[in-house]
């Protein structure tokens, strides 16, 4: 470590490291974002002048989307962002990729970013797929030579074949996203920013795009991933942050954060369950629990019953009864089979 530190201390532009000497890819400090959501937004000059003269300009109401968020992504690290809908995850990614300017706070980025956010946003619908490769490449800050070099690769990966010569307005949405994905992923970035992208197009392409992203993640690329798929987060990310209502709720190892996140989600579900008193068991975990208990039941029914009782002290008695009934039924059927 010390050796590296000495080496790193040589003056390098854009170079960032924390106190421990780990190189930082993205550093977000006290990030706050506010959007104006005034009900009567002044967007005509007449209104502006009249209101200024009358002095009843209402200060626009502001909504805080992100509130004092700080975190770091180290080089080569894969950070997952968890949070329910409307928590501010996408806004965070947009700010990091430079689309929005934060109200307060600072963002430092060390390296070339590839934001895989809106893949077909830069398409011109009257252009052929071919021309759109160049146009979209330009929007992603590629140079002409670079696209020339990778043109065949893009066309091949997109699986469009002859359709590459047709105008994009005749493309299906799947074709569009396939082309967009193929263009955006030719960049060799230092930092990859992904918002719910894993899985574009049909099953075949989904598999291919997943592999492509995984191959991009290799070779020490830092990743910032937003997704609702806990499976993907567990698979990919080393560390996670959990944002709720614009605040950083938790930061830490993936396992720990995912567990807490899941628990929170289940708690909410249970609450709503109690209210509705619905009989449906929509919870995946419970299903899996049931399955497990089913398997175990045949081995030692009584002790398992006790355990499950202990476990489900929080649950309602009626539910316990139901599960008991179920179990006995299951047992009967099992016995019959045997």
């Amino acid at each position: 470590m010390n050796l590296f530190k000495n080496k790193n201390n040589s003056k390098n532009r854009n170079y960032m490291e924390d106190e421990d000497g780990r190189e930082i890819a993205i550093s977000v400090e006290h990030l706050t974002m506010e959007f104006k959501v005034s009900k009567d937004k002044i967007d005509t000059l007449k209104e502006y002048i009249i209101r200024t003269l009358k002095r009843n300009k209402v200060a626009p109401k502001k909504v805080r989307i992100l509130d004092d968020i700080s975190f770091k992504v180290y080089k080569g690290e894969r950070l997952g962002v968890l949070g329910f809908n409307g928590a501010g995850k996408s806004t965070l990614l947009k700010i990091i990729s430079g689309i929005y300017e934060p109200t307060e706070g600072e963002i430092k980025i060390n390296g070339k970013i590839a934001p895989l956010l809106a893949l077909s946003a830069g398409f011109d619908k009257n252009y052929s797929g071919k021309n759109n490769i160049y146009l979209n490449g330009a929007f992603l800050s590629m140079t002409e030579d670079y696209i020339d070099e990778h043109f065949d690769e893009i066309v091949e990966f997109s699986e469009l074949g002859e359709s590459i010569n047709y105008p994009v307005k005749n493309y299906s949405s799947g074709m569009k996203s396939k082309l967009g994905f193929s263009i955006a992923t030719t960049i060799k970035p230092d930092i990859l920013i992904i918002d719910e992208i894993l899985g574009v197009g049909d099953i075949k392409f989904k598999k291919k795009s997943n592999e492509k992203i995984k191959s991009m993640m290799e070779e020490g690329v830092s990743v910032l991933l937003v997704t609702h798929s806990l499976k993907q987060i567990k698979e990919i990310c080393d560390r996670c942050i959990w944002i709720e209502n614009g605040k950083l709720l938790m930061e830490g190892e993936t396992k720990k954060v995912v567990k807490a996140y899941k628990k929170n989600a289940n708690k909410d579900k249970k609450k709503s369950k109690k209210k509705k008193k619905s009989k449906d068991k929509s919870d995946d975990d419970k299903k899996s629990d049931d399955k497990k208990s089913k398997d175990k039941k045949t081995e030692d029914k009584k002790s398992e019953d006790k355990k499950s009782k202990d476990k489900k002290t929080e649950d309602k008695k009626s539910e316990d009864k139901k599960s008991k009934d179920k179990k006995t039924e299951d047992k009967k059927s099992d016995d019959e089979k045997n």
């Binding site: 959007f35 104006k36 967007d43 005509t44 000059l45 007449k46 502006y48 990729s97 430079g98 689309i99 929005y100 300017e101 070339k112 970013i113 934001p115 956010l117 809106a118 946003a121 830069g122 011109d124 009257n126 252009y127 160049y134 146009l135 330009a138 929007f139 992603l140 800050s141 590629m142 140079t143 002409e144």
Partner: protein
Amino acid sequence: MFDTFAEKKFLLKQLVKKNLTSKYKDSVLGILWSFFNPLLIMIVFTAIFSMLFGRNIDNYPVYFLSGRLLYDFFSSGSKGAMNSIKKNSGILKKIYVPKYMFAVSAVCYEFVNFLISFAILFGVMIVTGAEFHPTLILSLIPIGLLFMLVFGLGLILAVCNTYFSDIGYLYNVFTLILMYASALFYPIEVVPVRVQILFTLNPVYTAISTFRECVYGVVPDFLSLAYLGVFAVTVLIIGIILFRMYEKKLSLEL
């Protein structure tokens, strides 16, 4: 993102190309309209006004066209830059692209259009038997200064129009007034002498009159060019400063 000049240059090229192709999409003649449009307008104006003002003006078609081309560039260039941010809000809200690139590309696109229609001016000069004077080279000065003026004004308007959309409508009326105040199709001598001073304060008229002098073989007045230069540079500086101040806030207003 967009750190090197090559990346910006390529984006600019693509944006100008996109404007060119989208403007004439679905039209049979396509880019040829860039020639025909000023030509047809010139024919109409010549037919109507050469009887009124023909006696005072030497070679009316060239007189009209030399003014009209510059005015067209001014009006469509500044309007293009003005609308560039709003028009591309879909892209700006989803991808990071330096916003000024859209304003630059709009002005550059109109400039390309202007250069294309220049061929019409030369064609008309040949057909009408007008002489090609060496002072024609000097016409690059008023053109360059006009470009700066259009770009600076476009940046200012782009910021204002994003905040208040009625700036756009207001500006359309303003350019109409400016057209009549630029002596496009009538000789300046028609205007009373006292009012002529007002005309010389109009930078678009100054650009047109100095450009015309170059076409007609007169070395343009230095004072007029200096006035136009100072005006254009001032507007350009204000435009750049204003745009830089508001650039980052613009995506929140879209």
